[in-house]
């Protein structure tokens, strides 16, 4: 969907509060937001759709603050990412830094253990589950890899979405893609 048409719809929503215009925006961008959240939630379709709905409601309430410094889709994905983090914090009592350490420790163990997928070869590669593969990554690496490899976001856009600086994003991408590629090879893909 063109940037010009997004801006036209956004202007209508801001000026008149048009539900029709906002509905058009939702229809144009729902696939990207829902797919992103499905990857972050490890394929939980119902949870992802609930979070996606929350994302669009927050976008509706805050659309007056959209400054066009980034694209509308990047802005939506940023909201979606923070909706996901809020949900993750609700479900986990641990502070973020401690949780990250646990996840890092877990991912190192997962890297050492090979998941049985019925042997190598072509059959194994086709049955390789996307979410299972992504689950081998730490949350921030998974986020960065999904945003780049699935949603085609640039490093700058990923930095805007995750509110990290670009060098940190590059670092997460390098590590995440390496870990994912190693996981795929160890489980017979490629």
């Amino acid at each position: 969907m063109s940037r010009l048409s997004d801006i036209t719809l956004i202007a209508q929503v801001i000026a008149t509060g048009s539900h029709r215009a906002f509905g058009q925006l939702v229809e144009n961008h729902q696939e990207v937001v829902r797919r992103f959240l499905r990857r972050l939630t490890s394929g939980d379709v119902m949870l992802a759709d609930d979070l996606a709905q929350e994302t669009f409601i927050r976008a509706w309430q805050g659309i007056g603050g959209f400054r066009q410094l980034s694209g509308f889709e990047t802005w939506l994905l940023r909201i979606a990412y923070h909706v996901f983090l809020d949900e993750a914090r609700k479900r986990s009592p641990l502070p973020t830094s401690a949780k990250e350490e646990e996840l890092l420790a877990g991912s190192e163990q997962a890297e050492m253990q090979l998941l049985p997928l019925g042997g190598g070869g072509e059959g194994a590669s086709l049955s390789m589950d996307l979410d299972q593969a992504l689950a081998s990554l730490v949350e921030i690496e998974r986020t960065c890899v999904v945003l780049q490899c699935v949603e085609g976001q640039s490093i700058r856009e990923i930095a805007q979405i995750t509110r990290l600086n670009e060098n940190t994003v590059k670092s997460h991408l390098l590590r995440g893609k390496k870990n994912l590629a190693n996981y795929l090879r160890k489980n017979g893909y490629g």
């Binding site: 801001i14 509905g23 939702v26 729902q30 759709d49 390789m128 699935v150 893609k177 490629g190």
Partner: protein, 146 residues
């Protein structure tokens, strides 16, 4: 000796993997559910103050109309009967009986002698000053009579 890390191999592998797992998600009523659940949005200043603009325009129009009514209401219908209707009748008769050739000549003569009949700057200033003094008095008189 450990082989150097070749990122291109990983890029190609991941590209192939994600390409195979590309996912299309149909709307299936998602948009409808979102729009249905939208809360009342706090109106921004423009939307919240549109009614003030309408009120402002309405009051201005009412003031203009009220001003005209005020000026003529003293004896609006009387003024119509005494001045406007006879004046319109006279104008119509004049136009029907007008000597257009004579009017053209008179107009050309007027323009030719215009510099002689225009007031001097001093006279003009006096006329403007007198108008500024007299106009409020006239309005005051009208208001009192109302």
């Amino acid at each position: 000796m450990k082989e150097p890390y070749n990122i291109k191999d990983d890029e190609a592998l991941l590209k192939s993997f994600f390409s195979e797992h590309a996912e299309h998600i149909a709307d299936n009523g998602f948009t409808e559910r979102v729009v249905w659940a939208l809360p009342q949005r706090e109106a921004d200043w423009l939307t919240a103050n549109l009614h003030l603009r309408y009120w402002s325009i309405g009051l201005n129009v009412a003031a203009v109309i009220g001003g005209f009514i005020l000026l003529f209401s003293l004896d609006f219908f009387g003024a119509m009967r005494t001045f406007l209707i006879p004046a319109a009748e006279r104008l119509l008769v004049t136009l029907m009986t007008l000597d257009w050739d004579a009017l053209l000549v008179r107009t050309m003569l007027f323009i030719h002698h215009l510099p002689e009949v225009l007031p001097s700057p001093l006279q003009l200033s006096a006329i403007v000053l007198a108008s500024l003094i007299l106009l409020p008095l006239c309005i005051q008189k009208i208001v009192k009579e109302v």
